[in-house]
């Protein structure tokens, strides 16, 4: 077991009241497994992963629950200890590669710096390693790319450089937050291929956050669907896509226009919009938008329960 998260709760105090960004999230991750986390903005998918990385430093934030990495508790770990893990054993890729790159140094310099922060090796040795890494993430001319500045690269190439940086210390856990959202589909296809290949060669476990069901269905071994700070459904890729149970998962899959076959005259849309975390509806947060809503849904929050394929829904529990 690489990562084990239990009953994670993250809330932020704001002028408008308490925002419960994460409200009881639990999940496990095995070695070389890809977990897809799907959700809309405000579903808590990014915040839960920032908590894992120890990157929530807001003094108004409260983090409760347990995050165990290889059996070691991360919640409450001193910053120094966390720094030793981050970038070394746990690496992260963000949506916008420029948040991870500085414009004033070359790509080669930046990746070498990252390696030297965690490994005691000489500059020239580090540079050799950078060239290997860039070759591994399919830079056509790795030696030349080392002396390039980020602005001289295309968006896809920048994201590859960030991936090379993330892989520089052979992380056991790679967290990718919408890494392909800003990229064109043609470039995205290449990056997804790369993630699959790296999982095989480096045996890293990957948490892949996205809002795109298509991406998840191509990449993930297991999937977790989030809504308003809670996990509403989890299961293996096959279970989730061939037998979606939660009304939200079903509706989300149904609202994607098909790429082949007959065009529906109208798309089956979900009414309303995701709730504000400041004013969550009573009971099930999806209740007001749910097509199969009935009395119990307004009274209490449904539990996800145990089992590999589970949905947090009273209707599903009843059936």
């Amino acid at each position: 077991m690489i990562l084990s998260v239990r009953d994670l709760r993250v809330s932020f105090r704001t002028n408008d009241g308490l925002v419960r960004a994460i409200d009881g999230v639990s999940f496990d991750l095995e070695e070389s497994e890809i977990l897809g986390v799907v959700g809309e903005s405000g579903s808590g998918k990014t915040v839960s992963l920032l908590a894992v990385m120890g990157l929530i430093t807001d003094p108004n934030a409260t983090i409760e629950g347990s995050i165990r990495y290889k059996g070691r508790e991360l919640v409450g770990l001193p910053a120094r200890e966390l720094r030793r893990l981050r970038g070394n054993e746990i690496a992260m890729i963000f949506q916008d590669p420029m948040t991870a790159l500085t414009p004033v140094y070359t790509i080669g310099w930046q990746i070498a710096e990252q390696i030297r922060a965690h490994r005691n090796i000489s500059k020239s040795k580090a540079m050799e390693r950078v060239e290997e890494l860039l070759a591994e993430v399919n830079f056509p001319n790795p030696h030349e790319a080392m002396s390039r500045y980020p602005h001289q690269l295309s968006g896809g190439m920048r994201q590859r450089a960030v991936i090379a940086m993330a892989l520089s210390c052979n992380p056991a856990l790679l967290v990718a937050d919408e890494p392909t959202t800003a990229l064109d589909v043609t470039v995205q296809a290449g990056i997804l291929d790369l993630v699959r290949k790296l999982r095989a060669t480096h045996k890293s476990a990957v948490v892949f956050i996205t809002h795109d069901m298509g991406v998840v269905s191509e990449l993930a071994d297991r999937v977790m669907v989030m809504y308003a700070g809670r996990v509403v459904e989890r299961g293996s890729r096959a279970e989730l896509f061939s037998d979606p149970r939660h009304p939200y998962t079903r509706a989300l899959l149904g609202s994607i226009p098909p790429l082949t076959g007959e065009k529906p005259r109208r798309l089956p849309a979900i009414p309303g919009s995701p709730p504000s975390l400041l004013r969550l509806p009573q009971g099930c947060a999806f209740g007001p938008r749910c097509p199969v809503h009935y009395e119990p849904c307004g009274a209490g929050k449904p539990d996800l329960g145990s089992g590999t394929h589970a949905a947090a829904c009273f209707r599903v529990a009843q059936a």
């Binding site: 968006g155 296809a189 997804l192 809002h211 509706a251 919009s273």
Partner: protein, 328 residues
Amino acid sequence: MIDKNRPILETRSLGKRFSIGSRFSAEGKRTVHAVDNVSLTVWRGETVGLVGESGCGKSTLARCLVRLYDISDGELLFEGNDITSKSLSELRPLRRRLQMVFQDPSASLNPRRRVGDLVAEPLRIHGRLSSSEITRRVAELFDLVGLLPDHVMRFPHEFSGGQRQRVGIARAIALNPDLVVLDEPVSALDVSVQAQIVNLLADLQEKLNLTYIFIAHDLSVVRQVSTRIAVMYLGSIVEEGPAEDVFAAPAHPYSQALISAVPVVETTPGGTRKRIILTGDVPSPLNPPTGCRFHPRCPIAAERCRSERPQLREYRPGRKVACHFPTM
């Protein structure tokens, strides 16, 4: 209803050049052909989807079509009248018939004004309506786009992204336009909200007999809304045809790669599609390749492609391709 006898908008070898740099920079002044030799006919009542990777010139073309940009080469005809070089004052009466919806509704709505006021603005500028008529029309528009009557007094920040885009759409249709150019209208929205807006656009098209030019990078959304598709690469159209045909059997190698790259939800295990992964990046339009502009990335490029640039030719009625070796 699509009326194939009356083109609403027509471009003839349209081009848009930007000059960049300055005479003092190392490279000197240079010219980018953002849109190059585009001839496109848009029929009344249809939806033309423009697709392509970022930087292919689809947004620039859209802005040329509503004359937000001045046109460098070629001609632009609206209902058969040449409007390529009409002055701003001459364009004014046309503006009400040609409208645009932008990607980011929060960037295109003034945060300090109430949304009712924002929707009324085009009516005040173009219409000759009394203030009570304007109030009535605004209420009618709110109803049409699915907003509540008491939303009129709200500010843009009080709305969700989807509702804000409804306001943007209400503004665009306020003057009963004939043609609406939609530049990535659903890209900034949550997945669960996208379908609502796509449906709203389809309803409005039917009710108001609108013609759309629709730009989006989400190909499945484009297929859903479009009757016809134009695939662009480096400023030019490489393939054009009925949406379902192009998606089912793309003829240009670039369209094939683009469509095959879309990740789709596979419910049947093992049913993965063949994927063509393009190598390299889109070349810089500052220094486009010779011959066919796609040849450095094309899996089937031959000698001829390096030297001779293929023209957009009609291979079958309605299906145009710019390739020496199209798959048809």
